[in-house]
């Protein structure tokens, strides 16, 4: 049904003979705009990149625990339904050492250290997040 394909011919067909180029000017403009947005926000995040001072662990959007980064710590997060995650804080870096979630993506995630960095365990709705600034280092919050 189809002749043996000749890539060169096909390429020629697309870019040349039909008169339409692979990329139009508008494509390049659009790509440029998206790239610019991405780079500007990356730059913005980078400029705001500060050493974190504490870790907040939230489970399903609710604060579970807040711990200072300067203190080495192992936190076991055990939920009522049996979901289990283990977070380690050492020398200012935070990572997930163990979890019984199916994908283990949270365990594979890099260590986090800077303000606003997060590790998420989606199946368990656990978010480990670095917060910064001296103002946040508290032992407990009265409410």
């Amino acid at each position: 049904m189809m002749e043996p394909m000749n890539i060169v011919r096909v390429l020629k067909h697309i870019s040349g003979s039909s008169g339409c180029k692979m990329l139009k000017r508008n494509d390049v403009i659009m790509t440029g705009i998206v790239l610019l947005i991405a780079l500007v926000s990356l730059g913005f995040f980078f400029l705001n990149k500060k050493e974190g001072s504490a870790v907040v662990i939230t489970v399903n959007g609710k604060i579970y625990q807040q711990i200072e980064l300067e203190q080495n710590n192992t936190i076991k997060i055990e939920q009522e339904n049996g979901d289990y995650n283990e977070v380690v804080i050492q020398d200012g870096y935070v990572w997930m050492t163990d979890a019984d979630c199916p994908d283990k993506l949270c365990v594979k995630h890099n260590k986090i250290h800077y303000n606003h960095e997060t590790i998420v365990c989606l199946p368990h709705k656990v978010v480990v997040e670095i917060i910064g600034g001296e103002e946040n280092t508290v032992d407990i919050i009265a409410k």
Binding site: Q65, Q79, V138, D139, I140, I141, A142, K143
Partner: protein, 349 residues
């Protein structure tokens, strides 16, 4: 309303990496969810994990006892608690544990001190609000306010002098059959204080107990850098804000309790109605966003935070200034801060 007992305990352990230097104790944390309908967190320093776990267990057991005794909604097998007293109002005196009598006497003392602004015999009115709030939270669309008639009808059943305590016989009797005790404004703080004193006697001298944000510090922190005070944040009433705390206090052997409009509330026609009811207007007090009290005794801090919440700023300031080693911090509705004379000394620079 059976409480699901959830073991939701976190043991957080600090690994000391300092190879040399003076031997320090390690920092541990544990928390559990099943008491007083809130999160209890214990932080403390101990030589090893087992010692800390043992202290935690003692604290848990003691708090659990208070939790059952001071419960106004649930019955427990073989325990006469505040609910038992309420259930027997106008019927007969109830023989109770000394811890209930102590709480009620302390509450009456607090009520006198605060010019009847934290009346534990106010339960008949509070239970109306509680019912409307619970229904309103469960079913926000048909949330309603209690009618003034309904509330005023119950005011005559709140005379604290009709709470008859017989210390000899260890009984409590409510003379008025419609009277109800509600110790919600004071029991958590009182139980925290009593438990903190107890555990300190057992040798737990560098720690902190927080029962749902009623914070009681015991001694200081204790680490490589030597001793330093506990850093206790005051919740920002604006919970949308990225800043969780408005001030951080440095406390040593002190309590901090905050009462705020954000704690428990329900919404009727787009307006929030929180849980601190002014005994004069019978409506949620609308003077402040939150009031924080620092003093030694956590029970007093709890009682004061509620009663000061119901007073004008001037009345509140007068009361606080008349008390020794007691400071207060108000966040007004427009977001401005007001302090008692010595409060700012506690703020971490």
């Amino acid at each position: 309303m059976k409480k699901v007992v959830t073991i939701f305990t976190v043991l957080a352990m600090i690994i000391n990496i300092t190879a040399c230097g003076p031997k320090t104790e390690q920092r541990f944390e544990s928390s559990f969810l099943e008491l007083f309908d809130t999160v209890t967190t214990i932080v403390g320093y101990a030589p090893d994990e087992k010692t800390f776990t043992d202290y935690s267990q003692l604290i848990y057991n003691r708090l659990e006892e208070y939790h059952q005794l001071y419960d106004i909604y649930n019955d427990y097998d073989g325990v006469n608690n505040i609910k038992t007293i309420n259930d027997n109002a106008g019927i007969k005196p109830v023989k109770v544990n000394q811890k209930i009598i102590d709480l009620l006497e302390f509450s009456i003392q607090m009520d006198q001190m605060t010019n009847d602004n934290v009346n534990v015999a106010f339960g008949a009115v509070l239970s109306i609000w509680h019912d409307y709030r619970t229904k309103g939270i469960d079913d926000p669309i048909s949330a309603k306010l209690p009618s003034m008639n309904e509330l005023q009808g119950m005011v005559k059943h709140t005379d604290i002098s009709k709470v008859k305590i017989d210390k000899e016989a260890s009984t409590v009797y409510l003379e008025d059959p419609l009277m109800r005790l509600d110790v919600g404004a004071i029991a958590k703080g009182y139980a925290t204080e009593m438990t903190a004193k107890y555990i300190e006697e057992q040798g737990f001298t560098n720690g902190m107990i927080s029962v749902g944000g009623n914070v009681r510090t015991i001694g200081t922190k204790f680490d490589e850098a030597g001793t330093k005070p506990w850093s206790v944040g005051i919740q920002n009433p604006d919970q949308e804000s990225a800043q969780t705390t408005v001030h951080i206090l440095q406390l040593e052997d002190m309590s901090l309790v905050t009462s705020g409009v954000y704690e428990r509330y329900y919404t009727v026609d787009g307006k929030r109605y929180h849980h601190i009811i002014d005994p004069e207007t019978l409506m949620p007090s609308e003077l402040f966003q939150s009031v924080s009290i620092v003093c030694k005794d956590s029970g007093m801090a709890d009682a004061l935070s509620t009663s000061i919440f119901n007073m004008t700023l001037e009345e509140g300031k007068n009361l606080i200034e008349s008390l020794e080693d007691t400071e207060a911090f108000w966040i007004l509705n427009d977001g401005t801060y007001e302090y008692s004379s010595g409060f700012e000394a506690y703020i971490r620079k």
